[in-house]
């Protein structure tokens, strides 16, 4: 590889793409084959799809719909299963940060959407992940309000605990955990939020209610059950650990046994 000079045009690759196309939620989908003749190794995977779409538009075809936004690995919008792996072959990497130099001339790549009943396909590779928002609305918060806070340093959080809470809070809500789970379970996503807040003093007053209501909200969305395959952790672009799931199990057990329901608990005020 040439150093500072970058790549020559001679580096261009031929790639065969097999892409899931589905016109709408109630339509039947199918894999379509597209051949790209001039893929640069420096392109990101999504830029390669951009190139494909430009061609499809020019040819009068419908471009491939896919979710993406920040293209720097933090917004959690991009959501492709590439050759059977959520976010593709590189560990700790979202699709938008995957580059074509990972592939070789002549490769065939399969691209599919996240697949789970709780994430219905909207179109092509775009799925509806609003289930995550509904789970968050059920309890993924600290019920404080602007104006009520005391001085920030009045709450002391030892660094190791703050770091563990941050590890859990790094979740970008992309849904790769669901996509990768053989059971389409959302346990890692929910656990990350439960564990983030359960480890901070600010989250303590509501920890029982939060664990119960978030788990029940998750179940109502039709996600699968967790059977501890740990594929979620392997697929997570932010490396969220299943340790958080164990923590959520403890939180849930504790809450199920000891929480005292109150009449106003659901009011949220």
């Amino acid at each position: 590889m040439s150093a500072a000079a970058g790549h020559d045009a001679a580096d261009s690759m031929r790639i065969t793409l097999k892409v899931w196309r589905q016109e709408g939620p109630d339509r039947r989908g199918r894999m379509e084959t597209y051949r790209l003749a001039d893929v640069s190794p420096d392109m990101s995977f999504l830029e390669m799809l951009d190139v494909l779409n430009e061609r499809l538009i020019a040819e009068g075809d419908d471009p491939v719909a896919f979710d993406h936004d920040c293209r720097e690995g933090i917004c959690g919008a991009c959501s492709l299963v590439i050759d059977g792996q959520a976010h593709g072959p590189e560990a700790l990497t979202t699709v938008c940060q995957l580059h074509m130099r990972r592939y070789s001339d002549g490769d065939t790549i399969h691209v599919e959407p996240w697949r789970a009943n709780a994430f219905p396909v909207v179109k092509d590779l775009v799925v509806d992940r609003s289930a995550f928002d509904r789970i968050m609305a059920a309890g993924g918060f600290v019920a404080t309000h602007a104006g009520a806070a005391q001085d920030a340093n009045a709450i002391l959080v030892p660094k190791p605990e703050a770091d563990r809470a941050m590890d859990a809070a790094a979740c970008i809500g992309c849904g790769a955990c669901v996509a990768a789970c053989p059971n389409a379970s959302a346990m890692l996503f929910v656990a990350a939020k439960v564990a983030h807040l359960a480890q901070l003093p600010q989250g303590a007053p509501e920890r029982e209610r939060r664990a119960l209501s978030m788990v029940h909200a998750m179940d109502a969305e039709g996600f699968g059950n967790c059977t501890n395959h740990f594929e979620c952790m392997a697929a997570c672009p932010k490396g969220i650990s299943v340790e958080n799931i164990a923590r959520m199990n403890r939180e849930f057990l504790r809450a199920a046994l000891f929480e005292r329901p109150t009449a106003t608990a659901a009011e949220g005020g």
Partner: protein, 221 residues
């Protein structure tokens, strides 16, 4: 009660019950193996027969224990069916291409199948011994007679191996489900799971192998 019911019916509740019943069943297996190994310890069969008689001596209490054990099994099996069904339903439209990243294992991916095989074996096992009228006359003799037949013996060896596969995931998984996961302990727990799976599998496999092989030595025809 609806509070407990609600909790148990949830996804986390189910896995906690699954883990808990699994643990208790492993406990049963350990005790069962301990009893069964008396067949090898004392080839005359007396020790084993005494052990059976000792258990029989509990009378109605034994029945209660057996019912409890049956409940454990039923709960574990019921949840297994339910989880599997729900998990299949959670992704009705599957992937065209599927690849693993290394999180899952043969053990984890085959839990339902290994469990179903164990269930089938359990039925056979109960019919072979527990519900065979000849069993309580001379338990050791019936075992010896049954396992002397290579077909039966190999079926039991196979079952033992399947239990090993089941536990290779189940033991560690039960800890996780019950909320035990700590970076300091995880490597130990993982090894312990493998050791328990290996010991139970070899222990249970040893008995039919022993009787099959000693029968073929003692009676070459």
């Amino acid at each position: 009660m609806s509070r407990i019911g609600n909790a148990l019916a949830s996804s986390v509740g189910k896995k906690i019950v699954m883990g808990l019943t699994g643990f208790l069943l492993v406990g049963f297996l350990v005790e069962h193996l301990h009893g069964n190994l008396k067949l090898i310890e004392d080839p005359s069969g007396r020790a084993f027969n005494e052990y059976v008689a000792f258990l029989q001596g509990f009378g109605p209490l034994l029945l209660v224990a057996e019912l409890g054990l049956a409940l454990l099994f039923l709960a574990h099996v019921y949840l297994a069916f339910r989880l599997t069904l729900e998990n299949l339903q959670a992704r009705r439209s599957g992937y065209v291409v599927r690849a693993r990243r290394g999180g899952s294992t043969t053990g984890s991916l085959t839990m339902f199948y290994s469990g179903a095989l164990i269930l089938a074996y359990l039925v056979k096992h109960l019919l072979d011994f527990r519900f065979d009228a000849r069993f309580f006359a001379d338990p050791a003799a019936l075992v010896k007679q049954t396992l002397a037949q290579p077909g039966h013996a190999l079926a039991y060896v196979g079952a033992a191996l399947v239990i090993g596969v089941h536990l290779s995931h189940g033991f560690r998984s039960a800890f996780q489900s019950l909320g035990v996961n700590h970076p300091g302990w995880n490597p130990l727990l993982a090894k312990l799971g493998m050791v328990v799976a290996f010991l139970l599998a070899t222990g249970f496999a040893a008995i039919p192998l022993y009787f099959m092989l000693s029968a073929s030595e003692g009676n070459p025809s």
